[in-house]
Amino acid sequence: MQERSKARDIEEIFKAELEISKHTEAVLANEDISKEQLFEEYQRLADEYRHLLRQAMKITRIGDSTQEKLLRTQEELSAANEKLERQAKTDGLTGLYNRRYLDKTLESIFDDARRHNKALAVAISDIDFFKKINDRFSHQVGDEVLKAVAKIFQSSVRAKDIVARYGGEEFVCVFPETTLDEARALAEQVRHNVEHYNWREIHPELKVTLSIGLCADINYPNHEKMLSAADEKLYEAKHNGRNQVRC
């Protein structure tokens, strides 16, 4: 029904042109018409044809540029959407994933590991004496430290591992399909790289170390409990002198 009325609408727009063709039919039906009159009629139709052709070209041009504009807007919109999506799961300072994304992702990886009996390890880590770094040097130095630790994390773990800034100076790393031994080696690598980073670049007297708690036991009822278990190990690392991995 709607289709029909759309077609009728378009016909209405071309009413004047349709009148001309009706008029021409009437002229041609008249048998008494003179050659001169026919010629005049022909001239009129040819003019009208040229006019319509020019109009069609103009309409095509307008159609093209309108569609071009629409496509550009669509592209801008999808770029903006992508950016928003990225922002929604990223920590602004470090560029790592944020807590919200980590929680969601860990949940699904944990469930998948449970269902298919796959190995999974989770590390939670905390920069040692971070408050003192902020107080002694400055918050700018503190921010630089966070960014550097984030970079060290990313360059020390594998592409499939997921690193997130979980809180102020806390980082969580998810190691999918990874045994405790493998995860411990990776965590130790991160700890080592943090300890031996050239912190003097940021401040001549700066030293930074990292404590890490690990859990690779998937027999917890949910991912939150597994993360809590890693957090307990982190607590142990802190109380055992910091700058170490506990599991």
Binding site: E3, I59, T60, G63, D64, Q67, E68, L71
Partner: protein, 124 residues
């Protein structure tokens, strides 16, 4: 006669015309900077093809095209219509995504306009 193969880009469709089997396909998006420049070689190839061959099956699988391109597509369809009126065995298949009602309607508009076997086919 050589096949006509043009790789698709963001703004131009991909073209695969097989001179041996007579299977011709235009797929993708079409909003080229100059529609004429893009479609002229296709028109030339088709005109040449119908001088030699008696049958062809043309498939369109387009997601998007602009007004200039629709004029060029009509020109192509005219070539097929002419071939059909000369008794050649030709058919046109207009494929559209199931969800793309607009592309379906466009196919139906073309079909209405032309005298030749023209099928509008939806795919998932």
């Amino acid at each position: 006669m050589k096949n006509l193969v043009i790789a698709g880009t963001k703004t131009t469709p991909s073209v695969m015309f097989d001179a041996e089997t007579g299977k011709l396909e235009i797929s993708g998006q079409s909003y080229p900077e100059s529609a004429l420049e893009f479609y002229q070689p296709i028109m030339d190839w088709l005109n040449e093809y119908f001088k030699l061959r008696q049958q062809a099956s043309l498939s369109f699988r387009l997601q998007y095209f602009n007004t200039s391109s629709s004029k060029c597509i009509l020109n192509i369809l005219r070539v097929f219509e002419k071939a059909y009126s000369e008794g050649k065995k030709v058919e046109v298949n207009w494929y559209h995504n199931e969800a793309d009602e607009q592309m379906q309607e466009t196919g139906e508009e073309f079909a209405e306009h032309l005298t030749l076997p023209f099928k509008v086919i939806s795919y998932k």
